[in-house]
């Protein structure tokens, strides 16, 4: 028996197990998936927890439920990938050999990367919302917070779900308005980028949004450290921003197992061909989802589009056929903007987010780069789609893996 080994049973790994289980010749191949955790987290739901819109039960389910029968699931931390020997070592030192390896170990926040972040203020007046612990702690803080300076801070790019900080700002504006204390809450966005909207078309359509919502911005801010005694963040060129409540998106990195295995770049992301999803170093290693270094967004929708293409390429690889250079960087993301409205963006490596309708020309029903109620319903429906279609590798009706220019206003 030959083995396909999948590292990580998050969005991408779970999806690949389901795809391959349907397509692979079971007389010749077996599939094993390894993950350290028992539970699967619907990470896009973390955004809504601080505002009381979702709770734990919306975002946590047992991983095993989504691993198909016939695929072996091992719950263990992965110690090291020994690519030269085609094997992986687990935390109890047991060794698993593979013929084809799929790395789907994702990315995570690493607060340790920022000096002072984990000092006195952590989870007292400094929070993240990229983890279940962070988002639930922030929910508890928000419950009786009377107001003050709320600073939403992005440490460095790339991060997973690059639109999440903006969504967090918009939801904060709405949440505190609804609570009747918006006048006591001063909201500031601190970013290393030059502006909140960095792509020309998005900037021209949405550029006014922060102003409209009375959200201040401090651009070009690269953090040096957090001074939690004096409640301020300090940049590398000595700019300072004071906060009463700091919500930060710390540095995002690939898992340490990538570093231990010598397979990653300076952020532990694995160098990967951006069209075939094959590792640049080893031809029998493929990489999917947030774990890659490709210049696509780190998003569940991206992992979904990659999944269909990677499945074909793995079949090509094991049948000695050439790989198809098919992945185009397609991403499709809803941007929740408060007041039960949302935007939608659909783009790829070559086409920036533009206006139009999606997935169908004219009739939509979703509108691109435009704030609508229907888009909001799309965002909320994503939870159902995620648990019931996406993880199980079932195609989403009407949405092919490649971006289409139909319905987009390109000029």
């Amino acid at each position: 028996m030959k083995k396909i080994l999948i590292l990580g049973a998050g969005t991408a790994g779970t999806m690949m197990a389901n795809h391959l289980n349907k397509k692979i010749d079971k007389k010749e191949w077996s599939i094993t998936v390894i993950d350290q955790y028992k539970n699967h987290y619907y990470q896009p739901g973390f955004l809504f927890i601080p505002f009381g819109i979702y709770s734990e039960k919306d975002v946590i389910k047992e991983k095993k439920k989504f691993i198909p029968k016939g695929v072996e699931f091992i719950q263990s931390a992965i110690e090291i990938i020994e690519a030269d020997k085609n094997q992986v070592k687990l935390e109890n030192n047991s060794v698993i050999k593979y013929d084809v390896l799929i790395i789907a170990t994702g990315s995570k926040i690493v607060p340790q990367e920022i000096e002072g972040l984990l000092d006195d203020g952590w989870r007292k007046n400094i929070f993240d919302f990229y983890t279940i612990e962070g988002s639930t702690a922030l929910r508890d803080k928000f419950k009786d917070w009377k107001g003050g300076k709320l600073v939403v801070h992005l440490a460095e790019m790339p991060i997973k779900c690059p639109v999440a900080p903006l969504e967090f700002l918009f939801l904060s504006d709405w949440f505190f308005t609804k609570k009747g204390i918006r006048k006591n809450v001063d909201i500031t966005y601190v970013t290393p980028l030059g502006s909140a909207f960095t792509k020309p078309r998005a900037a021209s359509v949405l550029g006014h949004m922060l102003d409209d919502k009375n959200i201040k911005i401090v651009p070009n801010f690269n953090i040096s450290h957090v001074d939690s005694k004096n409640n301020k963040i300090v940049s590398l060129d000595d700019k300072e921003v004071e906060y009463d409540l700091l919500v930060t998106i710390p540095t995002n990195m690939g898992d340490e197992v990538i570093e231990r295995s010598g397979l990653g770049d300076e952020l532990n992301f694995v160098p990967t061909d951006k069209h075939t999803l094959q590792s640049k170093e080893y031809e029998n290693i493929f990489v999917i989802g947030d774990a890659t270094d490709i210049p696509a967004s780190k998003a569940g929708s991206v992992a979904h589009f990659e999944g269909e293409i990677l499945t074909d390429n793995i079949l090509n690889f094991i049948n000695n056929k050439p790989l198809e250079k098919k992945f185009d960087g397609h991403a499709n993301c809803y941007i929740e903007s408060g007041y039960n409205k949302a935007f939608l963006i659909d783009f790829n490596y070559d086409v920036e987010p533009v206006e139009g309708t999606f997935p169908l020309p004219v009739v939509g029903p979703f509108s691109l780069l435009k704030e609508t109620r229907i888009n909001h319903l799309g965002k909320m429906a994503f939870k159902h789609i995620y648990w019931n279609l996406l993880l199980k590798g079932i195609p989403i009706p009407g949405i092919p893996p490649h971006m289409t220019t139909k319905g987009k206003k390109l000029n």
């Binding site: 290393p192 980028l193 030059g194 960095t198 998005a202 070009n220 590398l236 952020l267 210049p295 987010p353």
Partner: protein
Amino acid sequence: MTEKMLADFTVNVNEEGYLTDPSQWNKEIAVALAKEVGIEELTEAHWKVIEFLQKEVKENGKLPTIRRINKVGGIPTKELYQLFPDGPLAKAAKIAGLSKPASCI
């Protein structure tokens, strides 16, 4: 997108003055772009950063992060800020004829 004269060359630039066609770039244009962002003279240290950015974009299809410029390019972050004050990545990218650091939106 508009056309613009830089150091006697006609180039295509976007709203913010970044070149939209990297093949139009040359060193004289770089000097002119540097002046636009307030850098009067490009020293050897500046060129080292510019060339690193161009090499990275060619090889990986994306701008390196400040962290990568430090770790892989060997240019300490403090020095990067001295060379290109305020927004070092945005400024160096502009001079190198590349697009600015951006998010997906």
